[in-house]
């Protein structure tokens, strides 16, 4: 690992200042992605700005929504009575990320900011129509994810919290890589009075995406049968040593039907 300077500011304002002062500075949350990346020398920040003392951890239940502080760990979301009550599918998703020790450190803000194409939280944020709040503004999930490892965040912008509207029903199904536990394909289905939203992670070449054909079919008829004939073009899918594009396209349908069946 290359060496770097290290700061642990006591407020969001000071953390933003530290990031703004140096284009090579990098925020550190749980470190479950950043530290392995640093170990492989794939990144060489001048300053690592630790967000641990910025007070961004915690869960608040609102009227028909739940707001999760950016530094809240996956373990805390999985165990939260509020999240389990308001959006059980979100608590279950958090409890299925990585392993116990990854969940003890990894955070929702870090996961969304990182936007790994195989990560779980982006599917939840997109399907639930979450709002990502930063030190500067509120960003709709539809505008936040901009292709793999790419988000709307600016270099000196810190996610402070994420607000998820409560759906009438929701479920997340992940076909996971048995070694890393990341999604080979993950499908989050959320049913709202205004319609159904379906987000797919792990599969797409451009990262997490909404499945318009499935959303239309499920908004008309919320049942696994409604999407039995809906196909997913393999040309848009990722292909790697874990799964071919054709296999991923097939899995999108299987995971979506399972999610609908479990959410109904």
């Amino acid at each position: 690992m290359y060496d770097f300077a290290y700061q642990k500011p006591g407020s969001v304002a000071d953390a933003v200042k530290a990031l703004a002062a140096d284009p090579e500075a990098k925020a550190l949350a749980g470190g479950m992605t950043l530290i392995p990346v640093l170990k492989q020398r794939l990144n060489h920040p001048s300053v690592v700005v630790d967000l641990a003392k910025t007070g961004l951890s915690g869960i608040t239940a609102g009227a028909g929504s739940v707001t999760i502080g950016a530094m809240t760990t996956h373990a805390a979301v999985a165990a939260s009575a509020e999240v389990r009550r308001i959006i059980p599918a979100l608590a279950a998703l958090a409890g299925g990320i990585g392993d116990e020790q990854v969940r003890h450190r990894g955070t929702i803000g870090g996961s969304l900011a990182n936007d790994d194409p195989a990560a779980d939280y982006p599917a939840a944020a997109l399907a639930l129509g979450a709002t990502i709040t930063t030190n500067k503004r509120a960003i709709a999930a539809d505008d936040f994810f901009q292709g793999m490892f790419t988000t709307a965040l600016e270099a000196d912008e810190i996610i402070t919290s994420v607000t998820f509207p409560a759906p009438a029903a929701a479920n997340y199904q992940k076909f996971r890589n048995p070694a890393s536990r990341y999604a080979i394909v993950g499908v989050f289905v959320a049913r709202f009075p205004a319609g159904v939203r379906v987000a797919v992670t792990g599969a797409g070449q451009g990262g997490v995406f909404r499945h318009a054909a499935m959303e239309a079919a499920l908004s008309a008829n919320f049942s696994p049968d409604a999407i039995a004939a809906v196909t997913t073009p393999a040309g848009d899918m990722n292909s790697d040593i874990h799964a071919s594009a054709e296999y991923r396209a097939h899995l999108v349908g299987v995971m979506a039907r399972r999610a609908v069946a479990a959410a109904s």
Binding site: Y6, K8, G31, I35, D99, E100, R105
Partner: protein
């Protein structure tokens, strides 16, 4: 040089480190506690698991400077001063839950956190899921699972209720 002050197995240490020093490097190389192992570069094997403020974490994926002020427990901190093993260590021995022993320190640290955080009981399935972050290349896990189930009543001082999953 940056300094880190932390408590390891009840003893206060102030150590000079680099900002890039990992917690596991601090433990092994600066404090000489080599019971915590390093088995991978990818944060996947769990050989390095220690407790930081009572919670199991991968010490290879935490900077030493992040542990400033923390209370760390390693495998060396489990046995009593007179050498009496922690019930989890004792059950690993009794149930032959190790062969080469490389994964064992991390397994034991993860297992203790798992049992402590499930006062309502643990099913075999929950134990297996709880060990997802720990890889063992020797035992096939079966005896590890048995040892953890056997340690639960010893750690909680009562028989394990039939776990509701």
């Amino acid at each position: 040089m940056p300094q880190v002050s932390l408590t390891v197995n009840g003893t206060q240490h102030t150590v000079e480190v680099e900002n890039r020093t990992l917690l596991v490097e601090l433990l092994r190389e600066k404090i000489g506690l080599t019971g915590t192992h390093v088995g991978c570069d990818t944060s996947q094997c769990g050989a390095c698991v220690v407790h930081v403020d009572g919670t199991s974490v991968k010490s290879c994926t935490m900077l030493a400077v992040q542990a400033e002020g923390a209370n760390v427990t390693t495998i060396e901190g489990l046995a009593a001063a007179d050498g009496t093993l922690h019930p989890m260590q004792e059950m690993f021995r009794e149930h032959h839950a190790l062969q080469c022993g490389f994964c064992t320190p991390g397994m034991v640290m993860s297992a203790i956190d798992l049992v402590q955080s499930h006062p309502e009981g643990l099913s075999e399935h929950q134990i297996r899921e709880g060990l997802e972050g720990n890889l063992c290349r020797c035992t096939g896990y079966h005896n590890i699972v048995k040892a953890i189930a056997a340690a639960w009543p010893l750690m909680h001082g009562k028989t394990m209720p039939a776990a509701a999953e």
